[in-house]
Symmetry: C2
Subunit: 333 residues, 2 copies
Amino acid sequence: MATIRDVSKIAGVSVATVSRTISKPDKVSAKTRKIVEAAIIETDYKPDILARNFRTRKSSTIVVLVPDIANPFFSRVIRGIEQTAQGLGYAVLLGDTQGDRNREITYANMVKTSQADGIIQLDSHIPFENENGPYVPIVNICDCVRGTDIPTIEIDNALAAEKMTEYLISLGHKSIAIITGPVDATITQDRLRGYKKALKKAKIDFVPENISVGDYSLLSGTTSSHDLMQNTHPPSAIFCMNDEMAIGAITQLKKMGLRIPEDISVAGFDDISFAEYYDPPLTTVSQPAEEFGSKAMQTLYNIINKNDLIQKHTFLDFEIIIRKSTGPFKYET
Amino acid sequence: MATIRDVSKIAGVSVATVSRTISKPDKVSAKTRKIVEAAIIETDYKPDILARNFRTRKSSTIVVLVPDIANPFFSRVIRGIEQTAQGLGYAVLLGDTQGDRNREITYANMVKTSQADGIIQLDSHIPFENENGPYVPIVNICDCVRGTDIPTIEIDNALAAEKMTEYLISLGHKSIAIITGPVDATITQDRLRGYKKALKKAKIDFVPENISVGDYSLLSGTTSSHDLMQNTHPPSAIFCMNDEMAIGAITQLKKMGLRIPEDISVAGFDDISFAEYYDPPLTTVSQPAEEFGSKAMQTLYNIINKNDLIQKHTFLDFEIIIRKSTGPFKYET
């Protein structure tokens, strides 16, 4: 069986360099890493990482808790995490939680049992039974818990919803419905607050029946928009808390014989890749998905390695993207 | 520090049951598992899984190599893997390879170093430098390498493409273009073979300029369809090797003033969730994404645990889904 000395000989570097390449790949040059990796493969040397992990109690693995891996916004976030993790020498364990707290806790416990070094949580839950439990490196992104010490990375969701609502008001719309995400999510509450603030500033009464609760799926956009059109005063614009629900809503409204945006405006949230390719192309709020991922991984790395660079609450930029699914309100003639 | 005895006392079960719950969660009832997990959390007992992994040389982790995690078809496959893995007591490590062979090898080496027990590869590459290298548990799904002993799970891609092409021919189309995936992929070659076979059976000449190579992105559907319409004899139907390229193509063709399907038919492949919600709803080949994932995980589990149930080559069912993006060929008047 090959030893670290065999690798060192073939690679033409010191044993210490081989060891460092294995344990801290981010601390050696890409060139050295390549040479050493080639030598490891050539000699079929097994660095016995489990033995090393056992000694150091570090797994060089992080866990990502994703509410729904089939959501195209989250897959871009995961890609950002993955790419940064690879550069830092970390592997990414994926937990598709479906928002289930037991699943979150099961995955989070992998850190307590030293199978992983830290957690990136994409949902607004703390994945521990006891919030005051033992300290676990964690970063909460996208949809963030309030009032804890856990570092968060998010956009200003209230402001984004306020800006989109203001834009719809500027087009002459007064009856603006909103299709939300799950009611207990922080982003749902933040965005609802922004929506209400914009209405209030424009002296438009808030109408409770203009709110329909969705679950971020295409189907819930369909059913919610159908319900909203049965209101005593149907809306002339619908703002959806993600692009899938906006696409579901447009599909349903077209089926009902309505033209978008001539008869009704629809706006989304996230700017997934399909938004631009939809018919009509979707007006939406663009979020920096990959940046969410890379910033989260960098922050978690700093926490795990006890660096002093940790920013508690980071806000990333958003952008209102105006395309063709929204247009001026037209009085009925 | 809590011991396994503390957990056993609080849970009211034997030490052996606690141990079995930790090491083989699939071998105890859901009820027992819940009670033991609650006791582990209450006592803050650390089962020291790294120490156990070190002794047994099992990590209870598998690696999934995904060419593109942002592809909605793959995220459904990953969900299938994840759900079955959880039931079997395995964690899923995710490698977003972007088709890069060095990245594939880096991830695959995690098995050689005992950080993972096996690999599920979604792309038609063998992720080792040396194909005759040491035995590593691996299952190859969706896009499969030919002529190896590696267990594969796929649909009959040649037959699926043949059936879709036959359907387009049955609508009266004779000039049928095809937008492919990367040329070196097995599924591209299989599907091209099926397409050519259907043309030959209908005595329609194969025209090389009717082939355009894409990369599965929305954008490549746009550029490929634009190019195809510059042909001396532009196609009256375009068959795309995934739904994203079909959506990109429809967007582009509409921009050029063409009506779908009155002026030109477009078909896709995969039946991603957006296909049904597109305008017009997409005719496509439905693939059982979640089943790919669950079958792959079950097969890998059998390989890792040396069960005798391993089927070398599995074919799953596909279905031609006819929606509104395809219609009869109309002679110009």
